[in-house]
């Protein structure tokens, strides 16, 4: 039986949550609304307007928007892929092996995330120009490692540390080779951490603005930079801008929904004595 006091508390909590949800979602809702408005109606502050698909037609059919999205997918996806291939073994090494200055190294990796992008991007620009990495997929994928790799290594390392080393020993005794153990026993256990950190890394890479702004120009055009194109020199097409932003937010949302069930943690608990 719930007492009246508890009920009131429940209602209060829900009301607060709803207020927060509205507060957090309002900019997004406003953006979606603008994307359906014609240029003349953009500045009205009422919710009533005449919805139109003109902006969508303009952006999706009459510009290179598809190419920009594709570029973003390639560099962000590539960056996450490289991070997984490099980061998972690195995380395993940091979790399992003891070597001199291990913690220093781990901290060094984390510290890449501290550096303000604008600070490192200028020297990188010079180096990229010389190396021929400027305005290339490889160049952007490489620099995106600064964003995605530390995150992935630190999250996955924690998951590896949670797995008792005896599980590996048991599998060895059971007749499995190291690679079989890694893929059959360990990967399923770190999967929640791997998936969630990879998703976060993907979103961070996708949203990155400073790096592609400075380090790419014509050949590689990620969507974050491309959106600026709809800010003309003489006029700003806010409607088209909103469409570009709305559509560019979709992939991350779709990914998050698809892998939601893997984001649940707790699989690795309980098999080892506490």
């Amino acid at each position: 039986m719930k007492t009246g006091k508890q009920k009131a508390l429940n209602i209060l909590m829900n009301v607060l949550l709803i207020i927060y949800a509205v507060f957090a979602l309002f900019p997004l809702i406003w953006m979606v609304m603008i994307s359906f408005k014609s240029d003349t109606e953009v500045f009205t502050t009422t919710f009533a307007f005449h919805p139109t698909l003109a902006n969508y037609k303009e952006v999706l059919l009459r510009s290179d928007y598809g190419r920009y999205i594709l570029d973003s997918v390639i560099v962000s996806g590539g960056a996450v892929l490289v991070s997984i291939i490099v980061g998972v073994p690195a995380a395993y090494a940091l979790a399992r092996y003891n070597f001199p200055r291990k913690e220093d190294l781990a901290f060094q990796i984390l510290s890449y995330k501290f550096a303000p992008e604008i600070l490192v991007v200028l020297p990188l620009f010079m180096i990229y120009q010389k190396l021929g990495l400027y305005d290339s997929y490889l160049g952007l994928i490489w620099v995106y490692q600064l964003i995605s790799l530390p995150l992935l290594i630190w999250v996955v390392r924690g998951y590896f540390e949670d797995i008792s080393v005896e599980i590996e020993y048991a599998a060895q005794v059971d007749g499995y080779s190291w690679y079989q153990i890694f893929f059959k026993m360990l990967v399923p256990l770190i999967k929640p951490g791997l998936v969630s950190s990879a998703l976060l890394a993907f979103i961070f890479a996708w949203n990155s603005f400073t790096f592609p702004l400075i380090l790419s120009s014509n050949k590689v055009y990620p969507v974050t930079v491309a959106i600026m194109k709809y800010l003309g020199t003489d006029s700003a097409h806010y409607g088209q801008l909103a469409v570009a932003s709305t559509v560019s937010a979709l992939p991350a949302v779709i990914f998050a929904l698809c892998i939601q069930k893997h984001l649940v943690r707790g699989l690795s608990f309980g098999a080892v004595k506490g």
Partner: protein, 387 residues
Amino acid sequence: MARIQLENVRKAFGKVQALDGISIDVKDKEFFVLFGPAGAGKTTILNCIAGIAMPEEGLIKFDGEIKNLIDPAHRNVAMVFENYALYPQMTVYDNMASALRSKLYKTPEDEIRERIMWAAKTMKMENLLERLPSQLSNGQKQRVAMGRALVRTPNVFLMDEPLAHLDAKLRNSMRTELKEMQANLGSTCIYVTHDFMEAMALGDRIAIINEGKIVQIGTGDEIYYMPCNEFTAQLMGDPQINIFDARIGEVAGGFTATFPVNGEEITVSLPEDGRVYSTIKEKGLEHVDIGIRPQNVKYSFEAKEGYFKATVYSYESIGNKSVIVAECGDYQLRMIAPNGLSVAIDSDVYIRFELDRSIFFDSVTKEYIVRYDEQTFIDLAKSEEEK
């Protein structure tokens, strides 16, 4: 099914010498128990045999073949880990099947099923097969870990305290079961425990380990009746053996032992025994530590001829019997008594030793010197070994 030999194995973790020259020779089909206090290096020995830990020195041989450089997978050993080490993402059934499904030990699925069913039945856990490890209690996990080893036919079973987390009743029945199973399977088994009852009940032979060294190897009775030093004597037996310092004196036709009890000097004559008397004479012993098991200490609550007086320190029931602890000044004496006595703390108790059951230790080195009826126990040990 193999003979397992360790020759002078040494292993250090940083500055800690975990194993300091371990040599054991486990016969084929033997049930060998490693027994010692926590941190003695028992688990490290198992890890070295399994190949999980690499010794810095020494040889590990299976059937005479040196296995030092063989990886764990190819040694064909089955191990029960102290913390279970179950695979959390697999059901109990898949956990138990994992070894038989590996490329190395590939077995047809219907045979796997048969063996798992057999193991599950002996471990009384048929109803658990579809569960995940996180849905099991500690005792159940331990049984699954045992089951995972038992489905295999390895060179040797390595068991690291496999019964430690079971409840008392199940532990007793498992103990019996295990001994019988091992005899039926005809396999070598190396078993780590810190429970003296388990060691005595299961082991064909027992190795006492302390601080990375072997203290003594022998059958349960051999170690119990002829412990090689005071450490072993204290480890084997519950309640612990009584050990006290005594002065040997010579009188006409025999020897006496004199020891202090609450400030008074008590002198008792040592019963005649050829071996004991001749040893005392040969070594010219003046001081010895006398070890006497609690069941060989007799007590009375009234003054009696040949009994000396002490005060009761505590009286506690340990199930089907009780232990009286008596205060004797510098040391305490433990003795077995029946249940249901009304014993007041600090009351007087009169004590007599059955000295013809005592063991003599060197009072300086704490090593075994001699005991009463030594030949009987040497013969007993021999006959057990021949079995």
